[in-house]
């Protein structure tokens, strides 16, 4: 009953005209920057940050949150249409989304991306309303040993991102790990591979890396093969997912929503990791994993759900403990502090209007996004008809602006260009970017968690086995690593049996 009243109260706040207006502004800007490759929510929210001084705190948070989850909706658009992720969290959407578009199914791909974002957004908000407090407590149980175990599990999932050669995929994962070593060594405080470039002390940024490897390289590759594109341009069929598409997507959406929500709660992980993990999970669950990468709708529905529900999950540590789980949450924390609102254990009782108002506004915002994005599909599909000689210079421009705006740094722009060239050669030689990006994101957390754990245990590895969560994660990791070997042996045995019978 109490909960019901709180929800009603939340909607009273969210449906005030001023909040509705800012919610719409937020999701609209979010969709836009999501669509534009390179320009992401962090840079945009930083630019709009001063506005929050002038408007009421609830309104400000509603707008900023709208930008964040709006960007997750928009991010898939360019992934699907031109194989360039609009957002780092939409990298895996390229894998199958773009293939769908090449088969003339850009409409259903965009449609399922919007619907799964909507469903995941709604489901995760239910989680946010019901489970905020217990989940916040549970998340604290994750110390360095648990992180190390879960990150190890994540690294084994990298193998599911391979589309062609497993060896090449593993090589790229190792390269990703190596790139993640660049920067200040957290434990000793010494710089590693920074060559006295101060910008490298914090490591290479995810956004310049992703925009370079996926965005710039795609443009470069297409400069060569412009003519071939006409082949699939004419075959854009229906704009919405079919019944069969829905059947295929239902479970991935549910799994993606749950997984994304849980990953979102963990500090440092966020939407990018959620989308990668969901893709790997779908491939693992699928009866036809070999078809992934050739335009499976599951490969779009799962990750697009996961990156959206991770956004809601990320609010839990902020609202309940005042602990921001990523740069965007830190910005939201700042926006609340300016107005004297201390996010933390007392927020729900002291400022119920803020918590319930923002949560309710996210429901409203999700509806707006669906209403905004579905009619746009027809328009986006038209983008495919824009000649590449006009489209690609524009994409390049946005990539440049986006990577600069992140830290106001030209070094980021250089990094992006270098990785663009690296990405070009990777494509030429059949090396895939996704395993590299996933390992690159996991690497720093994996390494520091291992070394923090060993500091805690004075160098004893037993710390990973003495703690239940980490033990379970390690058993799962082992199972994942061994299962292909077992099925390999089983197949061989069956072959032997057949041979024996024949004799």
């Amino acid at each position: 009953m109490d909960l019901f009243q709180n929800i009603l109260f939340g909607f009273q706040v969210a449906l005030q005209p001023i909040n509705l207006l800012y919610c719409f502004i937020g999701v609209f800007i979010g969709t836009l920057i999501g669509v534009l490759p390179g320009i992401g929510p962090v840079g945009t929210m930083a630019i709009l940050f001063p506005i929050t001084f002038k408007i009421a705190p609830v309104t400000a948070i509603i707008m900023l949150a709208g930008i964040y989850y709006g960007a997750m909706y928009g991010g898939s658009t360019t992934s699907i249409l031109v194989n360039i992720p609009g957002e780092a969290a939409s990298v895996v959407t390229c894998l199958d989304g773009y293939q769908m578009a090449r088969q003339g199914r850009a409409g259903p791909a965009l449609g399922i991306a919007a619907f799964s974002s909507f469903i995941a957004g709604t489901l995760s908000l239910v989680g946010l309303m019901l489970l905020t407090i217990p989940l916040a407590e549970a998340a604290l149980k994750f110390g360095p040993p648990e992180y190390f175990a879960v990150m190890s599990l994540g690294l084994t999932l990298v193998t599911y991102l391979a589309r062609q050669s497993m060896i090449k995929a593993l090589a790229m994962a190792v390269l990703g790990l190596m790139l993640s070593f660049i920067g200040l060594d957290l434990i000793t405080g010494e710089p590693r591979f920074t060559y006295n470039i101060p910008e490298l002390l914090d490591g290479i940024g995810v956004v310049p890396l992703v925009v370079g490897v996926f965005g710039i390289s795609e443009v470069l590759v297409n400069v060569e093969i412009e003519i071939q594109r006409t082949t699939y341009k004419a075959r854009i069929s229906n704009l919405l997912p079919t019944l069969q598409d829905w059947k295929d997507s239902a479970n991935p959406i549910l799994r993606g929503s749950l997984l994304g929500f849980l990953i979102g709660i963990l500090p440092g992980a966020g939407s990018i990791l959620a989308s990668f993990a969901s893709y790997a999970l779908e491939k693992r669950c699928s009866r036809t994993p070999e078809k992934f990468g050739s335009g499976m709708i599951e490969g779009v529905a799962g990750p697009e759900s996961a990156n959206n529900s991770a956004v809601s999950g990320g609010f839990i540590p902020l609202f309940t403990l005042g602990i921001p789980s990523n740069a965007i949450m830190a910005l939201l924390l700042g926006a609340m502090l300016i107005h004297g609102l201390q996010p933390g254990p007392m927020l729900l009782s002291e400022h119920p209007a803020l918590f319930w108002g923002v949560v309710a506004s996210m429901y409203v915002g999700n509806f707006m996004l669906l209403a905004l994005n579905l009619p746009l599909i027809g328009l986006w599909v038209q983008v495919l008809k824009v000649p590449y000689r006009i489209l690609f210079p524009l994409i390049l421009l946005f990539c440049l602006i986006g990577s600069y705006s992140l830290n106001n740094s030209t070094v980021d722009v250089l990094i992006m260009i270098i990785f663009g060239i690296v990405g070009y050669f990777m494509r030429k030689f059949g090396y895939e970017g996704a395993p590299m990006v996933m390992a690159f994101i996991l690497g720093p957390m994996w390494e520091s968690a291992l070394r923090q754990s060993l500091l805690m245990s004075k160098g004893r590895f037993s710390i990973f086995l003495n703690r239940p969560i980490s033990l379970v994660a390690f058993i799962l990791t082992l199972a994942l690593l061994l299962s292909p070997t077992l099925s390999f042996i089983r197949e061989k045995k069956e072959v032997l049996k057949v041979l024996e019978k024949e004799e």
Binding site: M45, A46, F49, P50, F53, A139, L140, K141, F142, G143, P144, L184, D185, L186, I187, T188, G189, E190, P191, N196, P198, E199, L200, L201, D202, P267, G268, P317, L321, G322, I323, P324, S325, A327, A330, L331, L332, L333, G334, A335, L337, I338, H339, G340, Q342, P343, G344, P345, M346, L347, N407, N408, S409, V411, S448, Q452, L455, M456, K458
Partner: protein
């Protein structure tokens, strides 16, 4: 003919008007940029935005904050040191890129020789905190426990060679105890680890919300005097630990800004500091204690602390 006349008139007006602008008497005649070396939303950023906003009243120009992050704050500080010394580019001076990082890593600026302090307006709010169900009620109890059980107590910091790490190890040296640092990526991660019971204590930013909700207990603050917002928390100094307090957030400029402009800037920011709008804003955010040092004192303090921290870091390496 008439058009020419108008054009000539316009030309004359435009050449005359900017004339005095070249002098220093009407400084500032365009917006002032403040480079914050950390991301938006953090303590250094929020206090810089606040003092900048209040100072607009006294400068008569708008103050624009630009976040230039990276390199543990050294990228933004280097950009400040390299800026044109005309008074239009200022920056936020914060502890780590000035006091500690340059001792460990090669940077392009000298924190004392290439930068000029204007005023200090706040102190960072570092302290030692434990979870509310921790057996340790006072800082002394932790020291006693660590003395009896060497290498058992762990504390989280935001990185090796951060000022908190150096101060904690300095205390350990003085008290002849041994405790283990577990470095994390930043305040939020340390607080999570402390709240989850993964480290014995956190040497990091004070969290007003966790403290007020009695989820954590802060045993001591790295301050010279008690914080008026939380007068019940003792300082390390009064507990008898002779460690310096190298924490500050202030406004600075690249070296070489003409004296009249520096004077004008110091006056304006000092007036902003004294303005009730600033103190009210600081109170509302509840983030950092306000603390004032004028140009002379702030410069002397930076020079002295820089040398002192350098000595500590050298000692730690031994």
């Amino acid at each position: 003919m008439r058009t020419y006349f108008v054009l000539v008139l316009l030309l004359i007006t435009f050449t005359i008007v900017p004339g005095p602008a070249l002098g220093q008497s009407d400084f500032p005649n365009k917006p002032i940029t403040v480079i914050v070396p950390f991301g938006p939303g953090g303590a250094a950023d929020l206090t810089s935005r606040l003092i900048g906003k209040v100072a607009e009243k006294y400068l008569g120009q708008s103050v624009v904050v630009v976040n230039k992050t990276g390199g543990a704050g050294t990228v933004g500080t280097a950009a400040l040191a390299a800026a044109k010394p005309d008074g239009y580019t200022l920056g936020t001076l914060v502890t780590s890129p000035i006091m500690t990082v340059p001792h460990v890593i090669k940077v392009t600026y000298h924190p004392v020789k290439d930068l000029e302090a204007i005023i200090q307006h706040s102190i960072l709010n570092f302290g030692v905190s434990v979870r509310s169900d921790s057996p340790f009620m006072t800082f002394k109890e932790i020291i006693e426990y660590a003395r009896k059980n060497p290498g058992v107590v762990t504390y989280g910091t935001s990185g090796t060679n951060s000022a908190q790490h150096i101060l904690m190890e300095q205390i350990a040296r003085e008290q002849k105890v041994e405790w283990i640092q577990v470095p994390f990526k930043g305040g939020p991660e340390i607080l999570s680890a402390m709240m989850g019971g993964h480290v014995s204590m956190a040497a990091t930013d004070f969290s007003p919300s966790l403290y007020k909700a009695k989820k954590m207990r802060t045993l001591a603050m790295f301050l010279n005097e008690r914080w008026s917002e939380h007068p019940d928390i003792p300082t390390l100094k009064e507990l008898g630990y002779q460690v310096p307090v190298p924490y500050f957030v202030g406004v600075g400029a690249p070296k070489g800004v003409p004296e009249p402009i520096m004077k004008k800037l110091e006056d304006s920011f000092t007036k902003a500091y004294q303005d009730p709008e600033f103190s009210q804003g600081m109170k509302t955010m509840g983030l950092l204690p306000a603390f004032y040092r004028n140009r002379k004192d702030f410069s002397a303090f930076i020079a002295k602390s820089f040398e002192e921290m350098g000595r500590y870091i050298q000692e730690l390496k031994k």
